[in-house]
């Protein structure tokens, strides 16, 4: 191995180590007892314990938070992809009345600060009886995820030459059949990458999710604020809960890693 390549490797390893240190610290804490955490600084758990995790896995008020978060995130990913795929196709293939304005208007919703929408959303979903349901949070997250999905997908779709569409029509494919059987498989990577980003932004958002839920659909992030009890903060359980929030994301990135590695140029904006 030549010198520049080695220094490159060292640099990236150093970066990743720095990046993972805070996460390691959380992991480290999650295996400690509260006495050890508050007793002084230890670089690894000296009294290794799984108690913090046991608390979370045995208490329904804890683990239901994960189930709630995963439910509304899944619903959101499905809705977003279902509506964004045809729309992105339209933007990538056709010119139509007001297309540019519509595109910017969509994007402008990605720019809307969630804080702006807190109260109106609360009132809107309360008035139609969806307050504290998974579907309410999933719909609310569409506000920023649908525009993002259309944006990313459109770039991928532009990379597919229109000759494919025309050939399929000559072969007698109807539009829906062409779209599902021919077109979607061609942009698999794009769908994977989009699903990843949509999942990510819905999973990490808390402000809207917390405002639109009370008990039945409460996300894990909101439940975590409850560790601040009468006896101070339960650091160990808090850390364990934090560690567990990283797992679903890791699974998703594992599935899409090859799509991201394949690369995307994302057309014009």
């Amino acid at each position: 191995m030549n010198r520049p390549a080695r220094s490159k490797n060292v640099a990236i390893v150093v970066f990743i180590v720095l990046l993972l240190t805070p996460v390691y610290w959380l992991l480290n804490m999650s295996f400690k007892t509260n006495q050890e955490i508050l007793g002084g600084l230890t670089l690894w758990p000296e009294n290794f314990t799984l108690d913090n995790y046991v608390v979370i896995f045995t208490d329904p008020s804890w683990y239901s938070g994960y189930l709630n978060s995963m439910t509304y995130v899944s619903i959101n990913v499905v809705i977003t992809l279902l509506v964004a795929l045809p729309a992105a196709y339209a933007f990538s293939r056709y010119r139509f009345l007001g297309d540019k304005h519509l595109f910017f208007w969509l994007l402008s919703n990605r720019m809307a600060p969630p804080a702006v929408f807190l109260l109106p959303f609360f009132q809107l979903y309360s008035s139609i009886g969806l307050f504290d349901t998974h579907i309410a949070v999933a719909l609310a997250h569409c506000l920023f995820n649908v525009p993002l999905a259309v944006w990313i997908l459109e770039g991928f779709m532009k990379g597919v030459p229109r000759e494919y569409d025309e050939m399929a029509y000559i072969d007698g494919y109807s539009f829906p059949r062409f779209f599902v059987k021919v077109f979607l498989p061609m942009i698999r990577s794009g769908i994977g990458v989009t699903a990843f980003f949509v999942f990510m932004f819905s999973w990490v958002e808390l402000l809207l999710a917390r405002t639109l839920t009370a008990v039945d659909a409460q996300p894990i992030g909101a439940i975590m604020t409850r560790t601040i009890g009468a006896s101070g903060i339960d650091w160990g359980v808090l850390a364990a809960a934090g560690v567990l929030t990283i797992i679903p994301g890791l699974l998703v990135i594992w599935f899409v890693r090859n799509h991201v590695a394949k690369g995307f140029a994302l057309g014009r904006v």
Partner: protein, 288 residues
């Protein structure tokens, strides 16, 4: 690629249009409605015209948090974009090492924002956090809950830690889309490393960089959960950014009219800057 003019394409965008109209237009109209009224209770609202807007635009507290917000977003972009490109260039091109890097680098992105706050709240503490303890051991008097500069640096560091991976990931994907032939041509021409970056990689990264810059600008401008958990906006109000000021006003003080007017001004600022950026890029595209 030339696009075919066909208005029937509207049928394909209709679901998106309806969905986004439902979740954006209705709430936005509610905000507009609040912003011109003074509301004392159900059925007791009075039309006040532009009074709230005038009040909001001259409010010292809001101007301060707007200034802080610009400083923060500017710093975020200046640090994260170059750093992200650098990291993307360093990451292994393919194979198991590439995949591993990809996954490890993506980890901060997958953590819920309030947990990011929690992680740094612990990590930066002088007594039980590695970072805070380490800095104190170096002889620097560091305390992010008491000192304004320390609080700012911690929030900034947290955001760099949290979001540089997004820039890196987008750029990495952009780099992978460059055909190998470009590099071979550069090698034949004996182009320097810098020339390869400047004339091959950077132009090809443009579209992903636009996405990265826009996303980073929008999201840093709306930042809420992370500093809220980490510093609670303090010490004083030194790390209170726009979203937090707004949320305190709307939910904490239930000052609906003022909060709504503030919301609209806030939204318009984001929109205006993004639009300027967006047009600048599209125009630059046409010139080349």
């Amino acid at each position: 690629m030339d696009r075919i003019p066909d208005n029937r394409a509207w049928w394909l965008v209709l679901p998106v249009f309806l969905l986004v109209a439902f979740s954006a237009l209705i709430p936005l109209m509610t905000v507009v409605n609040y912003s011109v009224q003074d509301i004392f209770g159900p059925g007791q609202a009075y039309f006040v015209g532009t009074e709230w807007f005038r009040e909001v635009l001259t409010d010292q507290r809001l101007q301060d948090s707007l200034l802080r917000q610009f400083l923060f977003s500017g710093a975020v972009l200046l640090i994260q974009i170059p750093l992200g490109i650098g990291v993307a260039l360093l990451m292994p091109k393919s194979g198991i090492k590439g995949s591993l890097c990809l996954i490890l680098v993506a980890i901060p992105l997958l953590i819920p924002w309030n947990v990011v706050g929690t992680i740094w709240q612990i990590f930066a503490r002088g007594d039980i956090g590695l970072f805070g303890w380490g800095v104190n051991q170096l002889g620097v008097d560091y305390n992010y809950t008491g000192n304004t500069v320390d609080a700012w640096l911690t929030v900034l560091l947290m955001d760099v830690w949290h979001w540089t991976p997004l820039v890196a990931l987008l750029c990495y994907s952009g780099l992978r889309a460059i055909p190998e032939a470009f590099y071979q041509a550069a090698e034949i021409d004996r182009a320097s490393r810098w020339a390869v970056f400047r004339y091959i990689q950077l132009p090809r990264l443009k579209s992903v960089l636009v996405i990265a810059v826009l996303l980073r600008f929008m999201d840093s401008f709306m930042i809420y959960s992370e500093p809220f958990v980490l510093t609670g906006g303090g010490p004083g109000s030194s790390t209170t950014f726009l979203s937090q000021t707004l949320t305190t006003m709307a939910v904490g003080q239930f000052d609906l009219g003022r909060a709504a007017a503030f919301s609209l001004v806030y939204f318009l600022i984001v929109l205006l800057i993004s639009w300027l950026f967006f047009t600048a890029i599209t125009h630059a595209d046409k010139d080349t």
